[in-house]
């Protein structure tokens, strides 16, 4: 039982980190950006190259991977989304374009690195530490710690800085924010870079323990999107709560119901939650 809870905590940490980027971007732009999944993959592969092939220390590799992800996100915003925003209703267009980008990136990675999964060998497989009767590895602990600290930093950025204020203004009323003189392109670009950095960070961290394959961006971004929708856009506490909820469902379903049908049960439950979504549980950008 303790092990199940530990697994759920680790899983919710992963989902929280994955969701941060999507959530921020959804908050200020109103668009679900599936390309964050692409950034997730790109950063993961970059970290893999840095750590594995270039032999850089792990922390540097992770940070560099995230930075590259942020840069890619900035480019995507600059080159692609900016053009789409000239259309009257960009929400669906951005969504579709981001799906297209996700597909392109997946296949680019598959072409460059092959379809097979790769893993970052981190020395001998360690048995991990025993805490309260559950086994967790050092990396899992690191992920959990980061899943608690990074959201705090993000919250501070969003709510206590001028930049965060600009993002929130656009999230709240695009026309008004633009009329008042908050620079559109710069804000959106910086927001995209921030969100992409977070997604890239998530990608590199999570794949430390599991393996990297070209298609993992799909599941990752889907989970990020689901956490965002349930937890509320840009709602950091909501994201944590939603991540824990989903992880708990997945963990308990897998352990006590049926491992094979774990995903189906989880997704069906999430679907029900999204449709029935009680508005007062997690506030967010709106329904």
């Amino acid at each position: 039982m303790e092990q199940v809870i530990a697994n759920i905590l680790v899983l919710s940490a992963r989902y929280t980190l994955t969701a941060l980027g999507v959530s921020i971007i959804y908050r200020f732009s109103g668009c679900l950006d599936f390309a964050q999944g692409a950034i997730y993959i790109v950063s993961a592969y970059c970290s893999y190259i840095f750590a594995q092939i270039l032999g850089l220390p792990l922390v540097i590799a992770i940070l560099l991977g995230a930075v590259i992800g942020a840069t890619c996100g900035g480019f995507i915003d600059f080159i692609i989304y900016r053009q789409i925003r000239k259309i009257a209703r960009p929400v669906l267009s951005v969504l579709l374009a981001s799906l297209g980008l996700l597909i392109c990136t997946e296949n680019l990675m598959a072409l460059s690195f092959g379809e097979a999964s790769r893993s970052l060998p981190l020395g001998d497989p360690r048995p991990g530490i025993l805490i309260f009767g559950a086994r967790v590895t050092e990396i899992q602990i690191a992920v959990i710690i980061l899943a608690l600290t990074v959201p705090i930093l993000v919250w501070l950025t969003l709510n206590r800085t001028r930049f965060g204020l600009m993002l929130r203004s656009y999230g709240s009323n695009y026309m008004l924010a633009a009329s008042v003189g908050i620079p559109i392109k710069k804000t959106f670009l910086r927001g995209a870079v921030l969100g992409s950095f977070l997604s890239g960070l998530a990608g590199t961290l999570i794949t430390l323990e599991t393996s990297i394959s070209p298609t993992m961006g799909n599941e990752a971004v889907l989970m990020g999107v689901l956490v965002t929708l349930i937890g509320g856009a840009g709602n950091i506490v909501g994201a944590l709560g939603a991540a824990m909820l989903i992880a708990a469902i997945e963990g308990f379903a897998g352990t006590y119901i049926n491992l094979l049908w774990r995903e189906v049960i989880t997704f069906t439950t999430i679907l029900v939650i999204i449709c029935v979504r009680p508005k007062r549980v997690f506030r967010g950008k709106g329904y």
Binding site: L32, I87, R89, G100, L102, I103, E115, V225, F267
Partner: protein, 296 residues
């Protein structure tokens, strides 16, 4: 020559899928990424019933259509509560659920291995197993789907769907039953996709079905060919299917090794999709470019 007949049959099947999705996206304005699920459910139904229970092919069509329609009713009801991007996510989740069921429900679908040895279509003495016959059959299917869609689009129902796309509130204010209209749109779209699925299983699938033909990528592929060819126009998806599948077939002649051919194909259609959304969102022939009032 056989190869090009095969390509032609594929074009017809995917054109049918694109045309049916067009009802939903191009005319009713509801973006859905679970079309491959409708396609797959019916394909599997036909495959299982004909291969293991020796049903006549024609009898499996209603089964496939009913199953897909059932799912469509559920999604249609959901679409009432969900705003556009929420609907996309909900259909994404449904697509993933269906795919997982296809993968894991071993007793029925044989999981990843899939179903082998699907018998060819046997219709009143006509055994459809030659490439040319398969091609003719696919063309007939495509023709039926196009004719049906044409009738729908030109009917009052079609007008109402377009009205819903433009401004749902006004349609409600005018006293129309938007709920039933949306559900009907989903059911119509899903039924046509199901029909395509029933034809696909014994013909273009070469007698073998497995879940990988019905995952989220296929759904996005159908959307891509609709976007590229043009949404909101009856012939748009047909053009899109022609372009994309010929692209895929043509890659063969470039001596690209099999392992990366699929990746290059997907890369190509993903890229074209993105480019078209930027430059010409309504597609080559289309009339609906996802334009509209920006939600304040």
């Amino acid at each position: 020559m056989d190869y090009w007949l095969y390509i032609g049959s594929q074009i017809c099947i995917f054109a049918s899928l694109g045309v049916s999705l067009n009802i939903l996206i191009g005319y009713a304005g509801m973006l859905s990424v679970c079309h491959a699920a409708f396609f797959g459910i019916s394909a599997y139904a036909t495959a299982i019933l004909t291969t293991y229970y020796q049903w006549a092919w024609f009898g499996t069509i209603p089964v496939g259509v009913l199953l897909s329609s059932f799912l469509a009713v559920i999604i249609g009801r959901l679409s009432l509560r969900l705003r556009s991007d929420y609907l996309v996510v909900a259909t994404f989740v449904i697509q993933v659920i269906c795919y997982r069921i296809m993968q894991n429900w071993e007793e029925v679908t044989h999981g990843e291995l899939g179903i082998y040895g699907i018998p060819p279509i046997h219709l009143i003495g006509w055994l459809v197993d030659q490439p040319f016959e398969i091609f003719i059959f696919s063309v007939i299917l495509c023709g039926i789907v196009l004719a049906l869609s044409g009738r729908i689009v030109l009917s009052p129902f079609g007008r109402l769907l377009r009205a819903i796309r433009e401004d749902e509130l006004i349609v409600t204010a005018a006293g129309k039953n938007v709920r039933d209209l949306k559900v009907l749109a989903f059911v119509t779209s899903a039924s046509m996709a199901a029909l395509a699925g029933s034809v696909y299983a014994p013909t273009v699938a070469f007698g073998h079905l497995d879940p990988s033909s019905f995952d989220i990528m296929e759904s996005v592929f159908i959307i891509a060919l609709m976007i590229i060819g043009g949404a909101g126009n009856l012939w748009g998806p047909v053009l899109g299917a022609v372009l994309l599948i010929i692209l895929q077939g043509g890659l063969r002649f470039l001596d690209i090794p099999n392992e990366i051919a699929a990746n290059i194909r997907q890369l190509a259609y993903g890229a074209v999709m993105v480019v078209l959304i930027i430059l010409r969102p309504q597609g080559i022939l289309g009339k609906y470019g996802f334009e509209g009032k920006r939600e304040e």
